[in-house]
Symmetry: C3
Subunit: 436 residues, 3 copies
């Protein structure tokens, strides 16, 4: 991984960016009340000094730390199977994470400012980690096309765009593919860049395994109460099913040495179950439903790789070296539809009390859903919209349409920005020369 | 890792298996009450919407996630030191885990069905992870002898047999060795298959380190209250002692390059302390007792490797490439005897109130031990048997005998099933060709 | 990694050490009350069997387990970039950890003995892990100079010296450099020993990533209440800033293949933010303050490596193959000064109620700060000293001076002890021969 920019312009840009972030943090970011020892008046605990609400909520902190771990270790090592990207995949991912964690704090907090300040708690750090996930997915589509400066610019554009969408996989995949399509002429001439290592790479297996193991925590980390239990259980079985289906097919296809590249993608298809259960993970889809979703997602991911990807790539001139369309794109679409169907089938009989916490908009029009949440230490008062079950399902599909539109338009604009002479300079392919 | 089954019969078998699992889940498996928002009537929290008992119990969820991580990362990478098993050890382990997590849910839940349904909670996921541990141990004994289909069949037979035994190491080791003995004629002719890599393998070190670090959580995850503290502390010191003893011996023996294979086994002997303290981890054996157990287990594991293994292997025609007899078999036997002695020495004076929770059978005949458990959110009412301390110790030994019998008979039957022409087909050694 | 001591004297020494530790544990170490089922009299929970205070405090246990993981995985793999230390870095680190975890229990517990016994709880295990951190840092400075026996002796001397200082990075770095200076004539003649691997090493990247990800937990694990929130948030942003600054500079400098060694150090400089924020992590320095500290620490770490290290090494005849002076030494000094400044600026207005928990000595003279701590389950009664804000800042600087003095004098004495003929025998460089 050599840079061809001898002038160190990338270092200067990054330091300038860090200065700008520092200024923005000084202006707009501060702690939340739970981080500065504010206690409720007249509270009996006060005289004892430590207010219980000020303690770290343990499940929550634990889940944050595990999501944090999974993002960088899982995605950092997933891409190491590419012959000349090994070191490049892990170190730039760390750099991307370091930028996005700060920038996402600002972008996501902008909409929740109180008296001109973004009050950060561990919730914000967790949301920033999910924003990082989006950029890692897109990185997989463009890693052979961008200079480091372009990569940082892309990440900044993408975070500004994604907001706090729950459909991070769909967004990340189609945003990245659109950028990749715009930049397709930057492709290096030697196609050999993406040939995989001669032996199957255990680091990439490690990345897959970390993601496979922690995906239940990923899907459960934003859920609450009984929904969190369901998110863990559903994701666990969905991943098991997709691993059985895809690894069985993958191992059976290990006939030809030339299919090594192919097989790494199959290995990643074991994760399709985790993506595809994402939206519906905390809904009442029952363990067998999770197994069906996982099996179907695994199959679709593999079939997409064999029959769909070659056509798409030829038609749009892209390449998708990490197969993100099959893992994140297709599985993300499945997730949206499964979520919509599960939402349309949700009744008070199935969900008991948690129906209105799961779908607050279904609370009767004008009524407020008043509950005190132990985990987040906040009182939520949300006005109901009286939405029906079918209406909720339709709303989920509409959210998918919006996400796709934002991803494609955002990716197009970002790609055009990256084509500006200012960014599109020397240093192309800087991340790719691991060995030459 | 190439498959010689060009016909894809393995993929078809696995997909059929997944369909069967899906059907069984649809018939028999559903959520527990805590996962579906059921709240206790007349509960003051109800009006606030989120019932505290529906929240994830944090220690418990955390321990499940760490056990889950350790199983697949730890055991997946332990076997990578074998020259031609690197990739094969990690990926098939993931496949085995994916099958057993589902199948164990059914087998273990079968005995706890309520109105025809298995109600799964995170407890079930944790128990399923321990069942996976058993199959990973056995896998180490047969990985050069089985086809992928045979491996899946073995795992299914083994899980049906092991139930919820606490002596998972003893069971897994002797079950695997018995299967290995029955299948001994399937051994590939080229003995070179198991030669280790020319350089010591850091992936296998990583597997060892993960297991060494997380073993306190493994041993503590099923304990409660003060017993959980003891399980952590005892395991921590036992592992430290076995690491000092075995690594010191191991490093001193690094004289000859040809002993590389030998040294990897020594490295694994650092884990013997964790296995040997298993049964007594939550008992009052005190830190110095844990250090004695760990030191002895480390020594026995190494001496077994040098003096016992060659004789056993020659006599029974097996090979044990991963040394599971020394790490899991012998250390598991030590664990059972240490547990029996500790149980025979348990008095109300030592254990205070927790004696009867630790050994419920020692509660006076007919009396019930009524306690409310914070972690599991259940009221346990267990009728006492008035068992004496010595009786409890004898009972632990009897449990060892039963486990051994089930392991050996189960392994024999499983080995014979695998010899059936239907399973014993082409594709032998399919997992072994990492590089040729 | 071959040993040249054919006589196995190292194994005998280690076994003798383990016996001595076992004797000391039998004499002096036992469980705390929470591990033996002692319940408070007249407690309403008593009749229900499980006392809440006997349950594992989940955040606390979780943080212990993660610190434990990070120490061995993070530091174990950090050193694998050295060509001939790969295996040697991970396995001896495990041995060091196994020795120090036991020895630190005795040394740290010695000062808190009650009725002749050290009562160990998970708190003790966590403190022992931090002692291990100190020895890992020093190990980086001497790994090419010591025999295994010298290494164990050094670790035992160091733990006896470090006590429970919060400035573990400063202590570990200057202790190790002083030992390295005393032993400088033991240097192997072939300088090639420390040449890095031809390709950048992903294992060392993995070590860096684990430390980068878990550093928030490291810094937060000994804090409480709202201070714990601040420790997580401040460390998170400080690390992000130092990663952006150092990786940007590092990637821009990847011009020349011969700078590979250099670049691994830059990679480690991404961690400087975690070290430099250490002392002030739980103080009110605000997110932008954390970003400034992280950026400055990253820059200082890199500039130190380029301009300071060559001069220091030439002047004192040391080498510092792992660059510990830049990562731990300089960043540790920054940490001490940042902590002093933050303490001098602390007011009741900024900190609300938590001021007196953060700085108990500032409580009015003779008054006691009476609070009940949920996490540690203890009632702390600490007499105030009426110290002023400036006085507190000066006290922090004085603590730095004391730590430096103990480190340098302790390192000198330890180095002289290691020079004794008894320890300074054959077997030099035993850990360095990974491949020859």
């Amino acid at each position: 991984m050599h840079f061809t920019m001898e002038n160190g312009s990338f270092a200067l840009c990054a330091i300038f960016l860090e200065l700008a972030l520092c200024w923005a943090f000084a202006m707009f970011v501060d702690y939340t009340g739970e981080s500065i020892g504010i206690v409720v008046e007249n509270d009996p605990d006060r005289v004892r000094g430590t207010h219980p609400r000020n303690h770290l909520s343990s499940v929550y902190y634990y889940m944050f730390q595990d999501v944090h771990l999974t993002m960088v270790v899982g995605f950092g090592f997933l891409g190491t199977f590419l012959k000349r990207y090994g070191y490049s995949s892990a170190v730039p991912n760390l750099l991307i994470a370091a930028v996005t964690l700060q920038w996402a704090t600002l972008c996501q907090g902008f909409f929740q400012m109180q008296r001109g300040k973004i009050h950060v708690s561990i919730t914000n750090l967790l949301h920033a980690d999910f924003a990082t996930l989006t950029t890692f997915i897109s990185f997989g589509a463009v890693l052979e096309l961008t200079t480091p400066i372009q990569l940082i610019v892309m990440v900044i554009c993408e975070i500004s765009d994604v907001g706090v969408s729950m459909l991070v996989h769909v967004f990340g995949a189609y945003f990245g593919l659109m950028v990749s399509c715009v930049l397709r002429n930057n492709r290096p001439e030697k196609e050999s860049v993406c040939i995989t290592l001669p032996t199957p790479d255990l680091f990439s297996v490690m990345g897959t395994i970390f993601l496979w193991l922690f995906w239940p925590t990923l899907n459960a980390s934003l859920a609450q109460g009984d929904a969190q239990h369901r998110a863990v259980i559903n994701t666990y079985y969905s991943l098991a099913a997709s691993a059985v289906v895809t690894l069985a097919i993958g191992l059976s296809s290990f006939v030809d040495k030339k299919q090594q590249f192919f097989t790494v993608h199959i290995q990643n298809s074991a994760l399709a179950g985790g993506v595809a259960i994402g939206t519906a993970a905390d809904m009442m889809i029952h363990p067998f439903g999770a197994i069906i979703v996982g099996s179907v997602a695994g199959l679709v991911s593999i079939l997409g790789m064999v029959y769909l990807t070659p056509g798409i790539n030829r038609k749009f001139g892209i390449r998708d070296p990490c197969g993100i369309h099959n893992l994140h794109g297709l599985s993300g679409l499945i997730a949206a539809f499964v979520g919509a169907i599960a939402a349309a089938l949700a009744t008070e009989k199935n969900y008991n009390y948690s129906l209105y916490r799961q779908f607050p908009a279904r609370t009767a029009m004008g009524k407020t859903l008043d509950y005190w949440d132990i985990q987040y230490h906040v009182e939520n008062v949300q006005p109901g919209l009286g939405r029906s079950a079918l209406g909720q399902g339709a709303y989920q599909i509409a959210a998918l349409g919006t996400t796709l539109a934002f991803a494609l338009v955002g990716g197009l604009i970002t790609g055009l920005i990256l084509q500006l002479p200012f960014f599109n300079q020397a240093g192309r392919n800087a991340f790719t020369d691991d060995e030459s």
